[in-house]
Symmetry: C2
Subunit: 122 residues, 2 copies
């Protein structure tokens, strides 16, 4: 991972990701982690009981499915999923987001899923 | 301000800013505020003793001056100023950043400055 003393060029990190929904760690803000994630296909429905979840679309088009509606994000658009709200990201074509959440947040929240993954420092 | 239930299109917010270094509030992430700021000219040297400071360049070119070097950010590049580290943003031409910091953070940190400003909801 780039040292915390350095700037991060987000576009350079996206190609280093292992695959869809395999988060890459690019830095920290206090006790929050800064992640880049490739979104492709559907993730898993989950919620985070203790934290909001910050999404900023970097590339492509990402749909944050909520139980009552969809929030569609294009590059430069952000959405904060409120704590406790069930959501499920998806994208028909590969897309990328910047995700910010507390360091101890599990990517799949309360869901029992094979997609649970620790972020890999990029 | 856009409700917390809505996505935020950052580009739409930049034209609503009052002027350089007049932060606009676009949302929250837990106890953090999400701000957009126009950077033009030089800000004021300051530090935040209790928090890191997240900058993501959205438009233009922003220089984060540190005492020992400059960090120059182009769009899509982010930098986290570590807590306690003196810094002073500047830009020769108008530029815009997304700033994320705890809700109680004062924009000018420890500096006694006319540039101290509360964020305005956009």
């Amino acid at each position: 991972m780039t040292g915390m003393d350095d700037k991060v060029r987000l576009a350079d990190k996206l190609g280093l990701l292992d695959g869809p929904y395999r988060p890459g760690l690019v830095g920290y803000l206090n006790d929050y982690k800064l992640l880049v994630v490739r979104v492709h296909g559907e993730f898993v429905w989950h919620r985070h009981e203790d934290t909001d979840d910050f999404f900023l679309c970097l590339e492509g088009e990402v749909t944050i499915q909520l139980r009552d509606r969809n929030v569609v994000l294009a590059p430069g658009e952000l959405f904060v999923v409120p704590r406790g709200v069930e959501h499920c990201p998806k994208a028909d074509e590969p897309a990328h987001v910047l995700l910010i959440e507390p360091r101890d947040t599990v990517n799949t929240g309360d869901a029992d899923s094979d997609l649970t993954a620790e972020p890999r420092p990029l």
